[in-house]
Symmetry: C2
Subunit: 146 residues, 2 copies
């Protein structure tokens, strides 16, 4: 693990069904949001650094612009990852098994949710759900391969 866990897990009592269901779900979502959000922000930082080196010069406006882009992209990556991690965990709970189908279903729901939140039409939502499912399945398979 590159970073330590940011979200501490509460010592919830096993009797309380709501806590048992709700808390690991929230923990993972926040964890996913922070970690993948950081990756998204780093990507923009790397891109902006390359552009600055190439064009030369560094003004206050450029730095502010880069920071704003980092926040936006980091937030977007984080949201997608948080929703996906939560959905994948939810699928595992509902289906009761751990396999690549959880990733596929989680990816499909994430794609559809993010697309719905962006006010897309039905066709686009379906396309994004299919893409989400495919990307999540591919990422899951790559786990086993690498």
């Amino acid at each position: 693990m590159p970073w330590g866990r940011v979200t501490g897990s509460m010592s919830y009592p096993k009797v309380d069904v709501v806590f048992d269901m709700g808390n690991p779900f929230l923990n993972r979502t926040v964890d996913g949001f922070l970690k993948i959000g950081a990756v998204g922000a780093s990507k923009v930082a790397a891109e902006e650094t390359y552009h600055c080196i190439k064009r030369g010069g560094l003004s206050k406006g450029k730095v502010e612009d880069a920071l704003s882009k980092m926040c936006k992209e980091g937030f977007y990556w984080g949201t997608v990852a948080g929703v996906y991690v939560g959905m994948e965990h939810g699928m595992e709970r509902i289906r009761g098994t751990r396999d690549w189908k959880n990733a596929m279903l989680g990816g499909a729901i994430t794609g559809a949710l993010i697309s719905t939140a962006s006010n897309n039409g039905r066709d686009k939502i379906v396309a994004h759900a299919i893409s989400g499912a495919a990307v999540a399945t591919a990422a899951e398979f790559l786990n086993y391969l690498t």
Copy 2:
């Protein structure tokens, strides 16, 4: 594992360095190509099925068109995955450790290679390398989270 291993591993002698280096590398690459290629092809199949259901009617031309798209996209996804798996494995061999930096470096090299193969300019190659590194790192982090 959803499918059985397609590539059998030869019982290579440990004395031969070339075989020891070369073979698992090739095995993984072919494995990645076939599995992720199949995911890419399935994605197109799902998309085309949705379009057919929506618009109705199924002609010979449409099926041929869908099959051609499946082959193209499957080949593209497979190539990216094959190169990535090979590169990630290569990084592991060179660096001697297993961590998220292998994924990052493997993703960056894959992005740059695929971009170079598509005859892109230097700026695009750098952009694709950064994107590849970010996506691979994010996928690696998601492993730990899900």
